[in-house]
Symmetry: C2
């Protein structure tokens, strides 16, 4: 399966998780990554909280995000009154959700490895719990 299709399927999996709660709704954003405007992969809402999510699937043990990518996610989230989140799914693991402060900053990008995802990441149920 081409990696773009895998990515879209992974995003759809997240969309299902939100709708199945009956309290949350979610949608995939078209052209994320190619639009001239800041974007995210997914927007979710329960009317009280809005989440702007960048979702990544990986077979590797670390996933990297450029400064530009994170800046765009932040700007998009702020314009929509949404919380910016990173969703990452390592092979054989469940989705983990990290806030931007928990990403590991390197000299030229941001990184999440499997350990960081396990120690700092929230599971889906924790993400949507009332805070």
């Amino acid at each position: 399966m081409p990696s773009k299709t895998k990515g879209i399927n992974a995003e759809r999996e997240l969309i299902h998780l939100f709708w199945q709660t009956n309290e949350w709704a979610a949608c995939r954003i078209a052209g994320s990554g190619s639009s001239q405007y800041p974007s995210a992969d997914i927007l979710a809402s329960n009317t009280k909280r809005n989440l702007a999510i960048e979702a990544k699937l990986t077979k590797d043990s670390s996933k990297y995000f450029s400064y530009e990518e994170i800046a765009q996610l932040k700007e998009f989230a702020s314009k929509f009154g949404a919380e910016p989140w990173i969703a990452v799914k390592f092979k054989g693991e469940n989705w983990k959700f990290l806030c931007l402060e928990d990403l590991q900053q390197t000299s030229n990008n941001f990184a999440i490895n499997q350990d960081l995802a396990k120690t700092k990441g929230l599971g889906f149920d924790e993400l949507i719990k009332e805070i």
Copy 2:
């Protein structure tokens, strides 16, 4: 140009209008009309108001919306804490924005004709004015 491409270009035109204000952000929703979940074509926000928009371009003098289509837009908007709006662009005219109460209900659908769009529709500047 295929009508799907024309539709996407029309949605992009609306997205530009929102971003150009510097106060509003907007995004196109992927798979609207084909997703198994309620959806809209566009979500826009200035953090105080969220708008869920179904956008239609037409060469005809009337545009029709099925009951199902309107019900889905309503449900999506309510889940996102957004106002549901119809954006319609008749050939040679500017975008007009109508709230659902202003659509004309027929025996088996909802309709907007050019007269209705002119008398009841808001221009873009009126739509985003503080209310």
